[in-house]
Every structure is written in C-alpha cells, then in structure tokens.
C-alpha cells in the first residue's frame, strides 16, 4: 500500500499546467475538480498517484492532473493499469474511462479487471454517448435514442453498468450524479481506501450530444425525491423530507412512506454494502425509483496482488534458487573437457 504523505496538499497541487479543453458546462469539469479535492484527503504522495485512461473526452483526464499519467489507447486502460499495479503495488492507480471506452471496445478488460480484484480504482464517465467522436450511441444509450449513428433510433438494448460489473464479480460499486461534487469527492476517497477493484459510475451529462439524459434524476429540484443516497449501516431512506424508505416484498424492493399505514423507520431496510452475497446490491442497481446512488457494494475480498505476493513469498521460502546462476547450473548439466 502506498505510504502516506507527510506534506499536506491542496487541490492546486494536483492541477497540471495544461488548459482544460472540455466543452463549457461539461460534467467532466466536476469530476476533475472533485478528484483534485479528494486527493489531498487521501494522504497519498503525489508521485505515487497514476492516472491511466483510454480514448474519449473523459480520457483526456490525465493531462489535467499534475501526477503521473498515461492517455493510452481506446479501451485498454484496465489492462495497462493492471500491469502498472502489479509492477508496483505501492502506487495508487486510477483508471479514468468513458462508457464506450470501458464497455464497448474495452469491455473484455473491464470485466476481467473486476473479476481479478486487483487494487485499482475505476471512474466511469457514463454519458450514454460517444462524445469525442461527436455523438454515436454507446452500450449505455437507450433503445430508441436518436444519435448520429442511429438517426431512426437505437435498436441495441443498453447495459446497466452496475449490473454488468456485479455479474463480473465487482467487489466495489458506487454510483453518483455528475452534478454532485460533494458526494463524489467522498466516494472517490472511499474507493481509494477500498482494497480491491473499485468501480465508480458517474452519471455524467454531455451538454453537446446527450444533454439532459439524467435530469429526471439529477435535477436539483427532483434529486432528493428521485435518488436515494446509500450509506453502509444506514436505513434506506430518501425524499426531500426524509419520509420515504425501501422495504423488501418477496424479491422486489418497494417504496413506502414513513408514518403512513403504520410504517416506522424500523421497518426500513438497512444498507449492508459489505455483504458478500450480491443479490440485494443487484436489486439496488436495477432500481429505477428511486435511483440508487452512493456506495452500493463494498465487499472486502482478497486482492490479486495479495494472492500473488503470498505465493511468491512461499515459493521463495522453499526454493534453492536465489540467483539465475543457481538455475542455470542446476540439474542435468555435463562437462566437456
């Protein structure tokens, strides 16, 4: 694990000298700022932080962070980050990616990094569109959505990122609105603390090609009534006046009103993000009203590098080889005189 920094940073320390080139009003600015604010809180040394991205508007992110970074090729950031982390487990490695970068061309690396549970943090900017290429539908675009490549409406049903991730054995999954820097910052810090692959889906508005795709949930006015912000150990309560809650009815989650027909806060489900069995987390991920945000799943499991290091230590302990010469001159050699 990365050693903590003596020096106290401010967000300024993480700003690079590059002009930020996203469209005015793009949620990407919010994510950038939240990250720059979260990092000083994490107590990690600047030189130990690495941002690796693929290609897309979202993937321009590393250029704007004054840390180590790689703006790699489309979809491959999870693979690259895996190598970086295995090479040096002391680094805090972040994959910054878009819905297309991670789930279209990068889909295979995305599911495998989650399966392996290596200690990386993945931030997915989900704007349900290909932004950089100027507006084609993505694997999260809705059926019927009209885009440059679907002028008559999209015919491909979307993935639900959280559903796919949990199907791929994700141990940590969080979801947050792109216009909510406060909670986003908190979640980034939680993701960093979590040992294992953490995935954060940001509902990111693309003002140019998919403007308003989340307003029904994220608009300041409706937000509190349409979203539930989940916290481990806390009851699943939401609503402007905190009077709505979730209960289980068979295998369905139901919204009830506290105070109405005898419902009290005790009847409301309490969120257990740390539960190993993902059933409830999957139900929450699929919930449409209210939309679940916050850390939905955070199950502690052994990481790939922990398993690898353990094996390596064990093998080293039982091996007679310390230098390659030991190997080269071992076993079936013979002398020519």
């Amino acid at each position: 694990m990365e050693t903590t920094a003596e020096k106290k940073y401010t967000f300024k320390d993480f700003q690079s000298d590059q002009e930020v080139r996203w469209c005015p009003g793009c949620d990407d600015y919010v994510i950038l700022r939240s990250m720059q604010k979260a990092l000083p809180e994490m107590g990690v040394k600047k030189e130990d932080v690495v941002f690796i991205s693929g290609i897309g508007c979202s993937s321009r992110f590393p250029y704007y962070m004054n840390t180590y970074g790689m703006h790699s090729i489309h979809g491959r950031a999870p693979g690259i980050a895996t190598g970086t982390k295995l090479a040096n487990p002391d680094l805090s490695v972040w994959v910054m990616t878009g819905d297309g970068d991670s789930m279209a061309i990068g889909g295979n690396h995305f599911i495998h990094v989650l399966r392996r549970n290596i200690d990386l943090n993945i931030v997915m900017f989900n704007n349900e569109i290909y932004g950089l290429t100027k507006g084609q539908f993505s694997p999260t675009s809705l059926v019927g959505q009209k885009t440059k490549s679907s002028p008559y409406g999209n015919t491909q049903p979307p993935f639900l990122p959280g559903e796919l991730a949990l199907g791929a054995k994700a141990r940590f999954f969080a979801r947050i609105g792109g216009n909510n820097p406060k909670d986003m910052t908190r979640i980034l810090i939680e993701a960093h603390k979590f040992k294992g692959t953490s995935l954060i889906e940001v509902l990111q508005n693309c003002v140019i090609f998919n403007d308003g795709c989340y307003t029904q949930y994220t608009d300041k006015v409706v937000k509190e009534d349409k979203q539930i912000y989940l916290e481990h150990g806390k009851p699943m309560i939401f609503g402007k006046n905190k009077d709505k809650g979730l209960v289980l009815n068979g295998l369905k989650l139901e919204v009830v009103t506290i105070g109405e027909n005898g419902i009290t806060e005790k009847d409301i489900l309490v969120h257990d993000a740390k539960e190993k069995d993902p059933t409830m987390h999957q139900m929450l991920v699929r919930l449409e009203y209210p939309l679940a945000t916050g850390v939905i799943r955070s199950f502690n499991d052994v990481t790939l590098e922990e398993r690898e290091n353990a094996l390596t230590e064990q093998v080293k302990a039982n091996s007679k080889f310390t230098k390659t010469d030991d190997l080269f001159f071992s076993g079936e050699t013979y002398e020519v005189k």
Partner: protein, 618 residues
C-alpha cells in the same frame, strides 16, 4: 543431414540421424530425449526435433496420431536435427507409414512386430503388411516382437499392471539402440531412480526392460550401418541440453538480473509460444511476475503498464497474437517505453498450421501497425542462442527506450541442443535510462545525444510527474502538439532513434567466404540448415560460397551493403514467400538477388539447398 566422407553405408560416420516414432501414448518423446541426453553426456554434439500430432490425444494407431522424436548426434559440430534417417525405430504401422520416406535407402528400420496387427494395419491404411509384401526390400529391417519380449522380461515383477508393462516397451527399443551405438545405460537408469522415486516397481520395470533390450541386441549382434560416434570437439565447459523456448525465458531472466529490474511477463497462451510462459511462471523465486491475461491485447497492455512502472516488461506470442498486438505496440513505440515482444513464428496465414514452423511474420513485425512506427526487430537462429537474443532484446529495449520484437520460430523454439551454460556475471552490462534525482527543467522528451533515448522516469519518483500518451507530442515537453513541423520532427526522431541502434550492434560476419560468386543469405531459425548446406557444398569441392546470416533485421548491421557487394550473386533463402529479400531490396539498389523459398511448415532440407546453389554457380 549426414556428412559421410562418401556415401558408402558402412563407413565410420561423423554423425547419425535417428528417429523414434509411435503412438502419442508410446513415450517416444521420452525415449528420444534419453538417447540425446545420454549422447550429449558422452560428448557428442546433438540437435533434436520433436514432432507432436496436432490433436491432444489422437486415437491409437491412427496416422495423424503418430508422435516422433528425431535426434542427430555427431562427432563434429551438428547444426540441424538432420534430414534423412540412418535409423528409424517404428513402434507401430502408422509410424512406419508416415516416416518411411525419410529413411535413407539401405539403412536400418527397427519395428515392433507385435504391433503389426490387422487392426493397426487398417488404421494405418495399409492394404497389405509391409513386413511381408516386400515393400521394405531395400532397407535393412530388424523385426522384433518388442511387446512380447517386454512382457516376458517383466513376467516375474509382481504387482505390475498390464498398462505399465506395455507402456515400458519403448525402453526395450531404447536399450537396443543404446547397444547399437555403444551408449552407456547408466544415465537413463539414474533418471528412472530420480523420476520415479516413490514408484520402486516402475523403476525396476523400466530398468529391466532397458537391459533386456540392450542384451537382446547384444545377443543378436545387431549392427547398424554405422559404428560408434566419437565425441565431438566442443569448446570446454559446462553444458546442458536446452529447448529454444526455455532458452528465451532464461535469457529474459538473465537480463532482468543484469539490469537490476524485476521481470514482468504479460501473455496469453498460443502455440508454439506458450512454453515460454510455462517456463517463466515457475520462477516466482526470482520475483518474476508472470501474468496470464484475458487475451493478447491485455497481455501487451499489461506489459506496457509494467514498463511504465519500471519493470523489464515482456509479452510473448505467435503470429495471430502479434497481429492483435499491433495497435498497442504502436502506443509503446509512441510513448517510447522499453518493451520486449517475443513472436514465435508458426505456419500462417490466419490459424494456418499452428504446430508447424515458418518465417512469414517478418514484414508484419516491420509494418504491422498504423502510421510510421519503427521498432527494433531481431531474430534468434538456434535453440541455444535464443538465450542470447532474448537477453539482447531486453538490453536494446532498455538502453534505447523502444519496443524490440524478437522473432523465433517453432523449429528452434521446440528444438533442443547443447548450451554452454554462461554465468550472468559474464553477460554484458545493461544500463537502463532510469532517473531518480529530479533537477530543474527536466522534460519527459529530452533525449540522450548518443542513443536519442529519453529518460525513464517511473511513477513513485518525486519531481518527475508527467503524462505520456498516444497523441503526437511536443518534441521536448511531451505535451500534446498538433504543430505540423513538430509532427514531422518527431516522426524523424523516432526513425533516427532506431537507426542509431546500428551503432550498438555487431557488424555482419560472413562464413566460409568473404567474397566470391555466391553469397547465401538467411535470417533467424534457418541458420542450422543453411550453415550445414553451405559447409557441405564447399566441402564437396565446389566454387566457394559464403554465408551471411542475419540476426539483426531492423536496423540492419552497418556493414551490410559492403558485405553484400563483395559477391557477384546473392541468394536469400527463407521459409516464406520472400520477405527479408524485400527488406534488402528496399535498402540496397542494384544487387543481383535470387531467392529460394519454402512454405511447407518444414525446415529446409540439405539437398534442396545444395541444388539451388549448384544452379547459381556452375
């Protein structure tokens, strides 16, 4: 190939070529390995080549289920597993059918008559029994009821199951061959004792059968067409028999230790490259991180990530996998990180002939990426020097901050030969470009004057925080730059950086002649075949012919043109339709170049090469 003083069958030979063939289950690989190891111990030079069926376990007795192992032992330098056979040991009809063509007329064939049953003959698609229909008349056939004799030999070993009994008949064959070529049995018996430590019964059985075969040959006084092969005059030292893929893996281990870096392998299994992965996963004791990825792209991606973080990063694959790695390789080239890409070539195109050898990925290695993206390309030429060129690939990658493609092929990767073990301390130094102490106005794309390599500032090092990426970047700051002149400048810098590697690689040497009528040119895994063919051609008293064999392909050695111009004619021999010949044509005007190409998934045969040479020098 056989380098007889003349072709008479009963001369003392400098070498013999023996092939053991049988069912996948008959243990031919083991038998062959034992014979070659024993011979090596005895001091012979050897070269071996296994030949597995493509299927995992083909039905017993079927033609495509035949497994073979060829050994070439010599008292003089041996450079190939050989072409024509002095001795064929066939454990069943299918083995005889599929290998007879390789036996030199008049030479010896040993068969297990017990296996020539009606059923097996049918499976081998024989109308009549070749042992009876006279079709073997011009060979000296030694018919032995090996299965029965094996059973006999073991009849009073109590508690031995039938399977184990029949399975040990290969040792009967080995015993016979040991006697015929005056080999010691001890090495193999030691081997039994080690291998089956906890199975005393099996040790006893195998030993008994080996002896039985040996004494059987003795009593029958079986004499092959050749006598003992005296030890080869080989350089003094400690040797071991090594396969090409293992040598590649070990070369990388050595490079990691020498450069003081940790070794990272990101790979996805693919024939015939997988054995490198198999070898490296064993070496966790050296801290090797061998990561089996979900596909080839993730394999190279993880290696790029590891290189970014400061490891000696490697990815291994074969043709189709290299095709998939092209885009990512372009990224590694663009961000100028050290990376070793090992491509063990196989029969192409597409899935092609996965278990066969070929040299048809050379132009893919040169150009299989978008845009102008030059990388270093080198090739190993023998099973043993896979060690050296794997080491060299790592050295060049690290010292020049560039991807390096190492080309080997199924022939040398699966072939084995004696390797004079070298201690890591005797290997050349490797100086990485890592930086640790930050000083003002350092830039990610500042370059070293001599190599044009940039610094390797890895995450975790304070002060050097910087961003790299696949977009064109400013020639100094590394920031994204769309400036036209900068793009041209960077394109030239990337090319020049590779060109400069010329200053760090050895000059091209010719063998047998430095000037004359004909220069034979080859590259990579064909060295053994070309060397022995040119050697024989010259010995047969023909006009002097030189051999120039390339291990460095991009860039070419500095003196290449000079060497080539010393000869009137040039013939480029390749196991493809002509790829390296095109590289030469691109680089050098007005050469009188001929070419000989073979695309059969097989190595060159001595005879075919010599015929080619003859046509060019009358």
């Amino acid at each position: 190939m056989i380098t007889t003083k003349n072709n008479g069958p009963v001369e003392v030979l400098e070498g013999v070529v023996i092939r053991f063939v049988g069912d996948s289950g008959d243990g031919m690989q083991l038998t062959g390995t034992q014979f070659s190891d024993t011979s090596a111990m005895f001091g012979n030079d050897i070269a071996t080549f296994p030949n597995y069926p493509a299927e995992i376990r083909a039905p017993q007795g079927s033609l495509y289920g035949v497994s073979g192992f060829q050994v070439h032992i010599g008292s003089v330098e041996v450079s190939t597993p050989g072409d024509d056979l002095d001795l064929l040991v066939a454990m069943n009809p299918a083995g005889l059918k599929t290998n007879l063509h390789a036996v030199k007329p008049g030479h010896t064939i040993i068969v297990d008559t017990d296996s020539f049953t009606k059923k097996n003959l049918e499976k081998a698609k024989y109308e009549s029994n070749p042992l009876e229909d006279g079709s073997l008349d011009n060979y000296s056939v030694i018919e032995v009821a090996m299965t029965s004799l094996t059973k006999e030999a073991l009849k009073d070993v109590v508690g031995l199951d039938n399977k184990s009994i029949t399975r040990s008949k290969n040792m009967f064959a080995l015993g016979m061959v040991y006697w015929m070529y005056h080999r010691e049995k001890d090495y193999t018996i030691d081997f039994f004792n080690k291998k089956f430590k906890n199975k005393p019964l099996i040790i006893e059985a195998n030993t008994k059968v080996l002896n039985a075969g040996y004494f059987f040959a003795e009593t029958l006084e079986l004499i092959p067409n050749s006598y003992t092969i005296s030890p080869a005059k080989m350089e003094k030292g400690t040797y071991r028999i090594i396969m090409g893929n293992a040598a590649t893996a070990w070369g990388l281990l050595a490079a990691a230790e020498k450069s003081g870096l940790e070794l990272f392998l990101g790979s996805y299994p693919i024939t015939p490259a997988t054995d490198i992965l198999h070898e490296l996963v064993k070496h966790k004791h050296f801290g090797v991180k061998a990561f089996q990825a979900e596909d080839e792209i993730a394999g190279i991606s993880s290696a790029i990530g590891a290189s970014f973080a400061g490891d000696l990063a490697v990815t291994t694959t074969s043709g189709p996998g290299l095709a998939l790695k092209g885009e990512a390789l372009g990224l590694a080239m663009m961000i100028e990180l050290p990376l070793v890409v090992v491509n063990v070539q196989r029969g192409g195109p597409s899935t092609g002939l996965p278990t066969k050898t070929e040299q048809s990925d050379l132009l893919q290695a040169m150009y299989g990426r978008n845009g102008e993206s030059p990388v270093v390309v080198i090739a190993a030429s023998t099973p043993a020097n896979c060690f050296n060129y794997a080491f060299e690939a790592a050295k060049l990658a690290l010292e020049h901050m560039t991807p390096v493609i190492l080309l080997t092929d199924g022939y040398i990767a699966n072939g084995s030969a004696p390797w004079k073990v070298i201690s890591v301390k005797d290997m050349p130094e490797i100086k990485t470009n890592k930086v640790t102490e930050y000083s003002e106005n350092w830039h990610p794309y500042d370059r070293h004057e001599d190599t044009l390599a940039r610094d390797w500032a890895v995450p975790g090092t304070p002060g050097f925080e910087h961003r790299v990426g696949g977009l064109e970047k400013d020639s100094i700051t590394g920031n994204v730059s769309y400036v036209p002149e900068n793009h041209e400048k960077m394109t030239h810098l990337r090319a020049e950086k590779i060109k400069r590697v010329q200053n760090y690689i050895p000059n091209l040497k010719t063998e047998f002649a430095t000037e004359g009528d004909l220069l034979v040119v080859g590259w990579g895994g064909t060295y053994g075949s070309l060397h022995s063919a040119v050697k024989q051609f010259n010995e047969d008293g023909n006009k002097k012919v030189g051999l120039a064999h390339f291990n460095y392909i991009n860039p070419l050695p500095k003196n290449t043109e000079e060497v080539l111009r010393k000869f009137k004619k040039i013939i480029v021999c390749e196991l493809n339709s002509g790829q390296f010949v095109n590289v030469l044509k691109m680089n050098f005007k007005n050469l009188d170049i001929y070419q000989h190409n073979k695309v059969q998934g097989l190595p060159f045969a001595n005879s075919e090469l010599i015929d080619q040479f003859k046509q060019l020098v009358k």
